[in-house]
């Protein structure tokens, strides 16, 4: 834990890390032009995470530092993940038991209007779309088609 005198990271390592960071930046830009489908976000975040790790370990000396500092930082990042994940647990699953609609009122109204327009195109009064027709339509359905973006 205790070191004798300040630990000095060799300049060569700093330069190598910098080189790696630049290469990874190029990579992440390049990858953005490759259609990866659902992997787009994970790949981008993965590369960013790798870059951040390099910065933390070498530029910020965490690799050579007191483990307490590393623990501190790790706990911080864990709680960011907790915050994001558990919030998404709600927002991604609205409408699961039917007590709340997945779509907003505005979206439902927009959809109703579109349905109305379709209806006007084919003159028929047999169709009536009520808000109650929508609640169970899961947001997941629209998610699947969107994931490629």
């Amino acid at each position: 834990m205790a070191h004798d005198g300040p630990h000095i990271v060799p300049k060569s390592i700093l330069l190598k890390v910098f080189g790696a960071l630049i290469v990874l930046t190029g990579l992440t830009v390049g990858v953005a032009y490759v259609p990866l489908g659902p992997l787009t976000v994970p790949v981008a975040l993965g590369i960013a995470g790798l870059k951040a790790t390099l910065v933390v370990l070498f530029f910020m000396h965490l690799k050579y530092d007191n483990p307490v500092n590393a623990l501190t930082f790790t706990i911080g990042t864990i709680f960011v993940v907790v915050f994001v994940t558990i919030t998404l647990l709600d927002t991604a699953f609205r409408g699961d038991l039917g007590n709340v609609t997945a779509q907003t009122v505005q979206e439902i109204q927009a959809e109703q209007e579109r349905a109305q327009q379709r209806q006007d195109a084919i003159p028929s009064d047999s169709l009536r779309i009520a808000p109650s027709d929508y609640p169970n339509q899961d947001r997941g359905a629209s998610m699947e088609s969107d994931e490629g973006s």
Binding site: A2, L14, T25, A44, A48, K51, T77, L88
Partner: protein, 233 residues
């Protein structure tokens, strides 16, 4: 852990300097204890920064998950070249800060000042690029919040999209708060360069440089995440 406050280092340090170390505050036993405390304090401060940004990342994640198409389309209107250039600028500034600390640890004060000034220049460059990016958006009515009224060929299609204002609100808030951090960093680095020039730092005491370095790297890390999230995907 239990031995962290063991008295051993003091005796050695006391032997090394027969005088009371200049920067040692009275309530610390040794310079090492003081340095370690400052550093742990900085790390704890850094995680508060991380959690401060986390709120905006959550907002981003939630709205992106609701409107993936809109976010992809809106992110397409950002200038990737400028974003990439800024990433490189910020990474380089991180390197120069690391080198400044490297230099001061070896008592190379002159070199440390150069590196600090280099960092300052790069940070300034970052802000200049940011300024042009913001201006290009404002010109076309791309504002955060209620003023959002995109026009012009590149942006027109945004007006049709329901969640485009959310994307740009999040974009401006995230990059704005990040920008504020850059400016604060610039001020502190400027002060450090001045202090270094006055000979305040040496390999014996360089805590402020080290701590500012940590802060600056964190600002860099935040940008490392902002860049792909906002510009690329």
């Amino acid at each position: 852990m239990a031995t962290e406050t063991a008295p051993a280092p003091t005796e050695r340090e006391e032997a090394e300097h027969d005088h009371h170390p200049e920067h040692l505050q009275h309530h610390f036993v040794s310079s090492k204890q003081q340095f370690d405390s400052a550093k742990l304090g900085m790390w704890v401060f850094l995680i508060t920064e991380v959690l401060l940004f986390s709120g905006m990342f959550v907002a981003y994640a939630v709205f992106r998950q609701w409107n993936p198409d809109v976010f992809a389309a809106a992110s397409g209107t950002l200038d990737q070249a400028m974003g990439a250039a800024n990433t490189v600028v910020l990474l380089t500034s991180s390197l120069t800060v690391a080198l400044a600390i490297h230099a001061i640890k070896q008592d190379r004060v002159q070199r440390c000042i150069y590196y600090l000034l280099g960092t300052l220049g790069l940070a300034g460059g970052f802000m200049v690029v940011k300024y042009f990016e913001y201006m290009a958006k404002f010109e076309h009515g791309v504002f955060p919040g209620a003023a959002f009224d995109p026009h012009g060929a590149h942006y027109e299609h945004l007006a049709e999209m329901t969640a485009a204002p959310q994307f740009f609100s999040i974009y401006f808030v995230m990059t704005g708060i990040h920008g504020v951090h850059v400016i604060i960093g610039m001020i502190v680095i400027g002060v450090l360069a001045l202090m270094a020039w006055r000979g305040s730092f040496s390999s014996e005491w360089y805590t402020p440089v080290e701590l500012t370095g940590l802060y600056w790297h964190l600002v860099d890390i935040v940008w490392i995440f902002l860049f792909p999230l906002l510009y690329l995907i």
